[in-house]
């Protein structure tokens, strides 16, 4: 099925992947960085040139906080796989988990504790303003 919001949702997801890739730069170990191209996200071991993980985010039917959660969660898993340990953790070593919520057209992103660790200090990431939905449709072919 090809609807008029699908291209918009893909655009938002690609922009979000790029946003998250930049947002994680300060949290990652020094020898790893995240690159994004469209829905592809790569972990690159520095010095540049060696891609250690390359995966594609699922193409969403729509774009909302759930989409953002999946992107952040998938990326977190990839980093954990590479490091062979839970990632990220807070200062006392407690594992944190991807979290995303939406408020007033802005996706809020964070790593938070879960369950018994729900109260630990979260790591907040820069928010992602959701690109505006298409205002109209133009027939082109």
């Amino acid at each position: 099925m090809n609807d008029t919001t699908k291209a918009w949702a893909l655009h938002c997801t690609a922009e979000l992947a790029h946003h998250i890739s930049e947002a994680l730069a300060d949290l990652l170990p020094e020898d790893v960085r995240v690159l994004s191209a469209g829905l592809h996200i790569m972990l690159e071991k520095t010095p540049p040139g060696r891609v250690v993980s390359d995966f594609e985010v699922s193409a969403p039917a729509d774009f909302d906080a759930t989409t953002a959660y999946y992107v952040l969660n998938d990326l977190t898993d990839q980093v954990s796989m590479y490091l062979h340990r839970a990632w990220p953790t807070n200062s006392d070593g407690t594992a944190l988990h991807a979290w995303a919520g939406e408020k007033d057209g802005v996706i809020e992103l964070a790593f938070r504790g879960e369950g018994a660790n729900a109260d630990v200090t979260p790591i907040d990431l820069p928010s992602f303003p959701v690109p505006p939905r298409p205002e109209s449709t133009v027939i082109v072919g």
Binding site: W8, A14, P132
Partner: protein, 148 residues
């Protein structure tokens, strides 16, 4: 009597008009599709162009080349999402982020969207332009893949 005749005439005229409307619609629907050779379908905001190109691998004209042109050049950069539709059946979805208009090809022996001469082809696509905040839809083009 004259009153009845008037109503009778009105009825006949109505039937004739209805008949013409129905038959003209049927004729319009049955109009043959154009070949996909140098085929252009124009709509209000752009056009689709399809042509059959030579394929060195087969030694024949077996590569469909498809272009989507948005008239507003400033709206061309963005995300394109599309399906090749053969005989009314959409194939797998694809997407591309482009800084220009969209182009793709479809070879006759494509492992998924393979086609045969005589098949109907349609480019079904949506495009989102962050610059104009509009969606662009291609859904009305259709041609018959014909040897050249």
């Amino acid at each position: 009597m004259a009153h009845l005749t008037g109503w009778w005439r009105l009825g006949v005229v109505g039937l004739v008009v209805a008949f013409l409307l129905v038959t003209s619609g049927a004729v319009a629907e049955a109009a043959p599709l154009q070949p996909c050779n140098n085929y252009t379908h124009k709509e209000e905001g752009g056009h689709i162009y399809v042509d059959l190109r030579f394929d060195k691998a087969t030694g024949h004209y077996t590569t469909l080349t498809i272009f989507l042109f948005v008239d507003d050049l400033g709206a061309a950069p963005g995300t394109y999402y599309w399906n090749n539709v053969l005989n009314g059946q959409p194939g797998p979805s694809h997407f591309e982020i482009k800084d220009n208009n969209f182009h793709t090809i479809l070879r006759m022996n494509d492992p998924v969207d393979h086609w045969a001469f005589g098949d109907r082809y349609k480019m079904q696509a949506t495009h989102y332009s962050p610059a104009t905040r509009k969606s662009y839809l291609a859904a009305y083009n259709e041609c018959v893949i014909t040897p050249r």
